[in-house]
């Protein structure tokens, strides 16, 4: 994954990170399905324009497994909502097993947020120059940067490890059938998860050891190349702060308001649609600005 080269890696990492963070944070501000779906579509389009969307698909598969589990476990074991879809037996400790429309919608919204986070993480992987990011913060928060570097490296490392483990499993005749059921998918994923987890922990440990042995975080650093923010990048950063402010303003005006419990209430879906149109327009400004300048 690290060998993906995009034009966004040439932009100051602080600016790109601010852009991505704006999306991830605001996804937790509102509950409206319209805004969440719109945000997801926007990120997907951005990834698609940069030719990275197809690379998300393998991770999307893994994400779907977790989402499916959440979808199953959450509504079944919680007892909220009033619109019953199914009433099950009383189970000691847990209580009644039931399924309400509100619980299902709540799980769906949570999964939408999970997808926004997944897309945001992918954008961070491919659009941020991690080295520059590292240099930027090493001076003020070396421990944080060590953790970040390990996390960053863990992701592509996991992808490579997963491929190898999947191949090995295949040589042992362990692979999903042509049309696997959900249960089969889970069982197959479990097979891969254990060796994946152990090898990734081992890999991260070695990386951390290497960082330590090379004196990272041992004291004041010097810099071989300047990582100063350019003027137009500063301007875009200002715009991003403005976008965040606008979002908060809209949120204060109850745009994106949606109640799941105790009963579903969508206060103003037309208003949400209009707000989404405005947001989509302002979200595009930094992308077009930075994208065009770097293309030039």
């Amino acid at each position: 994954m690290t060998n993906v080269e995009t034009r966004w890696q040439k932009v100051h990492p602080g600016v790109v990170l601010a852009l991505i963070l704006t999306h991830v944070i605001t996804a937790f501000l509102w509950d409206s399905p319209v805004l969440l779906v719109g945000q997801l579509v926007f990120l997907a389009v951005w990834l698609q324009i940069e030719g990275c969307l197809r690379r998300v698909l393998p991770f999307l598969g893994m994400g779907l497994v977790f989402m499916g589990m959440f979808f199953l476990v959450g509504p079944l074991f919680s007892s909220n909502g009033v619109t019953f879809l199914w009433k099950g037996p009383l189970v000691p400790v847990i209580g009644r097993l039931d399924l309400t429309l509100e619980e299902v919608v709540y799980a769906a919204l949570s999964n939408l947020r999970l997808l926004v986070m997944l897309f945001g993480t992918m954008a961070y992987q491919w659009f941020v120059d991690h080295d520059r990011f590292l240099f930027q913060f090493a001076r003020i928060a070396p421990r944080f940067v060590i953790t970040s570097v390990m996390a960053i490296r863990l992701f592509p490392f996991l992808a490579g490890e997963l491929q190898r483990i999947t191949e090995v499993a295949r040589t042992r005749g362990i692979y999903p059938s042509a049309n696997p059921t959900f249960k089969e998918r889970i069982a197959y994923g479990q097979f891969l998860l254990k060796p994946l987890l152990l090898s990734s922990l081992e890999g991260s440990w070695m990386t951390a050891e290497s960082l330590y042995a090379r004196g990272f975080g041992s004291g004041r650093r010097s810099f071989y190349r300047s990582v100063e923010m350019l003027d137009h990048e500063k301007l875009v950063l200002f715009v991003i702060v403005g976008i965040f402010g606008l979002t908060m303003f809209g949120w204060g005006l109850d745009f994106g308001r949606f109640a799941t419990y105790p009963q579903l209430i969508w206060y103003d879906w037309v208003g949400d649609l209009m707000f989404l149109a405005v947001l989509a327009a302002v979200w595009s400004i930094p992308l077009m600005w930075l994208g065009r300048r770097n293309t030039d």
Binding site: T2, N3, E5, D129, H130, D131, L134, F135, V149, R153, R164, I165, E167, V168, A169, R170, T171, R172, G173, F191, K194, P195, L198, S199, E202, G203, M206, T207, A208, E209, S210, L211, Y212, A213, R214, G215, F216, G217, S218, G219, R220, R221, S222, F223, Y224
Partner: protein, 680 residues
């Protein structure tokens, strides 16, 4: 030589470990010394290296006792930056220690961490990139580099801050012979020209033993030898025979063959004795005195002290052979002058020494053919004809042909602790319900024809390759990093599909449904045994495969015990696989693969990280397995020489050499075992 590092009574125990990894270690390392750490896996070498730069206990935790001093100052009193600026550290896995995106960033990273000024960084970057020839790839992405390039960049980046010492933990274990040579050559230069102190832990000692100034030998966390290289050889020769396992192959071979030179002390001219069969045959004067490595002391009939020279390099060994072939004025066994060694010729693996003496000319043929001794008859595990024992020479063609009839499918059995023979147990497991369709030797089992394969259809790694695995093949597959060896193995195992070309099994084209049950026919062991561990106990791992084979419950227990016993894992039956040692994990992974009773076994670098004893065990095991064919990817030419009866070299996805080991080794500069080089 001034003192650089001093270690006094060092004892260290990892957190939650039951025993110390290092016990009461005392040593000193001089400035500019080249120190070689020897010892079996788990003996404490890696921990010792990490104790020198404070990684233990600072990074790992645990309890430490004793003192480590760097340039006269206690390590505990030095800051991380002070230690790092003096000591560089390189481990065996370049993938895990290269942290940044481009070569240039990687090279300056260490200097930035130490806060070096920009002008200094620029000048050192220029120096180091010139020294390692990295100029043209400074802006390259790390991920695009080959394994050898990555390790070179890793070494260069550790050296860029100009440390005074370098600690290396098996830096060549993942490299092919050429790239390993490059790295070790660079180390040697840095040690000799820069005066860099080098502390190196290495299993493949053939390229570095002779340059070591000091040897530190570890056994179970204790330092059992700390002294000169020559002293080590002498003790290995005279009293600690088990230490011979740590000598370079050519030295072990020479010791085993009992040939070497005896140099008489006390005379102006060196006097050389050829030693044959452990006794002095001829003592002669060397006229040019070109030999360099001289060890051992013995006394012959003239009462003078003699040092027996054991070659440590191919050049040394050749010098001894050449010395034997000179016209030299010499002395005989009794020390009297007069005898002369006339001639020594080397023809197709045989050395013929013709000695002219008072009793007339007599020829002694020093055969480079393994004799089938009584020990050999005990079973292939002890002394396979293809295997170069310390007292054996490289086998010749006639002998290799003999291996066909000696194949485990034909004979031999090693007694097992349970009374049943090793071979009969395994054979019984494999032959049940499985008729042998390929009983004739040399019959093709698995063939690929004009295959093209890889992960990117536009950039195939395997290109137009035709290759066949035959009955009884024990193939060593060589090739530089990135040549396509693992891809070929995966292609043969059905993990990846060829974009063009065909695959045949027993001369019949493979259909897609073949691969669904291919794991019963083709066993594949990857580089990382951890990939095979899906359960919480050793037992469960094996039972998982047996259950999938539909083996009846009562039979499962029999097969389980038999397999675990065969692989020496019965005592660990209820242990977690990750609680096993490296060698045990690998045996378990192999047992898991073999539980599927495959006909063909594909092994991807099975000797990586194994010490000599573990390699010998693996070799013994592989010789005993009843596979129809085995293909082993390796960088370890010495191991291949002991095991393979066919050698293939892959280059850029194509086979460039394939044949009998003698034939391929004889034509190859990169892939030739050390002992073969002597007789080249």
């Amino acid at each position: 030589m001034s003192e650089f590092i001093r270690i006094e009574n060092l004892t260290y125990q990892y957190p939650e470990a039951s025993e110390p990894a290092l016990t009461d270690v005392t040593a000193e390392i001089g400035r500019g010394e080249f120190v070689l750490l020897l010892g079996n896996s788990g003996s404490g070498k890696s921990t010792f290296l990490r104790a020198l730069n404070g990684l233990v206990p600072r990074f790992y935790g645990g309890t430490i006792r004793g003192e480590v001093e760097l340039e006269g100052r206690s390590l505990s009193g030095l800051s991380q930056q002070e230690i790092v600026s003096r000591l560089g550290f390189l481990n065996q896995d370049p993938e895990r220690q290269l942290l940044l995106a481009t070569v240039e960033r990687e090279l300056v990273f260490g200097m930035e961490n130490l806060g070096n000024p920009l002008a200094e960084m620029k000048s050192r970057l220029a120096e180091i990139s010139q020294l390692f020839g990295l100029g043209p790839i400074l802006q390259e992405k790390i991920v695009t580099l080959s394994g050898g390039q990555k390790q070179r960049v890793a070494l260069a980046s550790v050296l860029a801050p100009f440390p005074q010492g370098l600690l290396l933990d098996e830096p060549t274990s993942q490299l092919d012979p050429i790239h390993a040579e490059e790295v070790l050559h660079a180390l040697r230069r840095l040690n000799e020209d820069w005066g860099l102190t080098v502390v190196l832990s290495e299993h493949r000692v053939e390229r570095c033993f002779h340059v070591a100034d000091r040897i530190l030998l570890f056994e179970a966390g204790r330092l059992v030898y700390n002294g000169s290289r020559d002293g080590f050889v002498q003790r290995a020769q005279e009293e600690k025979k088990e230490w011979q396992a740590f000598l370079p192959p050519v030295a072990r071979y020479a010791l085993g063959q009992g040939w070497g030179e005896q140099v008489v002390e006390g005379g102006r001219n060196s006097v050389v004795a050829r030693v044959e069969g452990g006794s002095v045959a001829t003592v002669a004067r060397v006229e040019d005195g070109s030999a360099s490595a001289v060890q051992g002391t013995t006394t012959v009939a003239d009462g003078k002290s003699h040092r027996q020279k054991i070659p440590l390099t191919v050049k040394d060994a050749r010098a001894i052979l050449r010395a034997g072939g000179k016209q030299w004025s010499g002395v005989d066994e009794t020390g009297k002058t007069g005898s002369a060694v006339k001639k020594e010729s080397i023809t197709s693996g045989n050395i013929v020494v013709t000695k002219a003496g008072a009793t007339g000319e007599k020829s002694v043929t020093h055969r480079l053919v393994t004799k089938q001794s009584g020990a050999d008859q005990e079973g292939p595990s002890e002394a396979h004809p293809n295997r170069i024992q310390p007292n054996q020479a490289p086998p010749n063609q006639a002998q290799r042909n003999q291996t066909q009839s000696n194949h485990p499918n034909h004979n031999h059995a090693t007694p097992s602790p349970t009374g049943q023979t090793f071979w009969s147990k395994l054979t019984s497991l494999f032959t049940k319900n499985k008729p042998d369709h390929t009983s004739q030797p040399n019959q093709p089992i698995l063939t690929i024809t004009k295959a093209q394969a890889g992960y990117d259809p536009h950039q195939p790694i395997i290109r137009d390759l035709t290759y066949t695995l035959h009955q009884h093949d024990r193939i060593a597959l060589f090739g530089e990093n990135g040549a396509g060896k693992s891809t070929l193995a995966k292609l043969l195992a059905g993990v990846i599909t060829p974009t063009t070309g065909t695959l045949m099994w027993n001369n019949e084209p493979i259909r897609p449904d073949f691969w669904q049950q291919a794991w019963r026919r083709i066993g594949y062991l990857s580089q990382n045994p951890n990939d095979y561990f899906l359960h919480d106990t050793v037992e469960a791992e094996i039972l998982f495969t047996l259950t999938r084979l539909d083996v009846p419950k009562e039979q499962q227990e029999i097969e389980l015990v038999s397999l675990l016993d065969t692989f020496g894992l019965l005592a660990y039956r209820y242990r977690h696989p990750h609680d096993l040692s490296g060698g045990e994990r690998q045996r378990l992974a192999l047992a898991i693969v073999l539980a599927g009773k495959p006909d063909v076994l594909l092994l991807d670098e099975p000797t990586r990280g194994l010490d000599l004893a573990q390699k010998e065990n693996l070799c013994r095991l592989l010789h005993t397995l009843p596979m129809k064919a085995v293909l082993m990817i390796t960088h370890d030419v010495e191991f291949a020489a002991t095991y393979a009866n066919r050698v293939t070299v892959l280059f850029q996805g194509q086979v460039v050499a394939d044949g009998e080991p003698d034939e391929v080794f004889g034509q190859s500069f990169a892939y030739m075992p050390q002992v073969h080089k002597v007789f080249r």
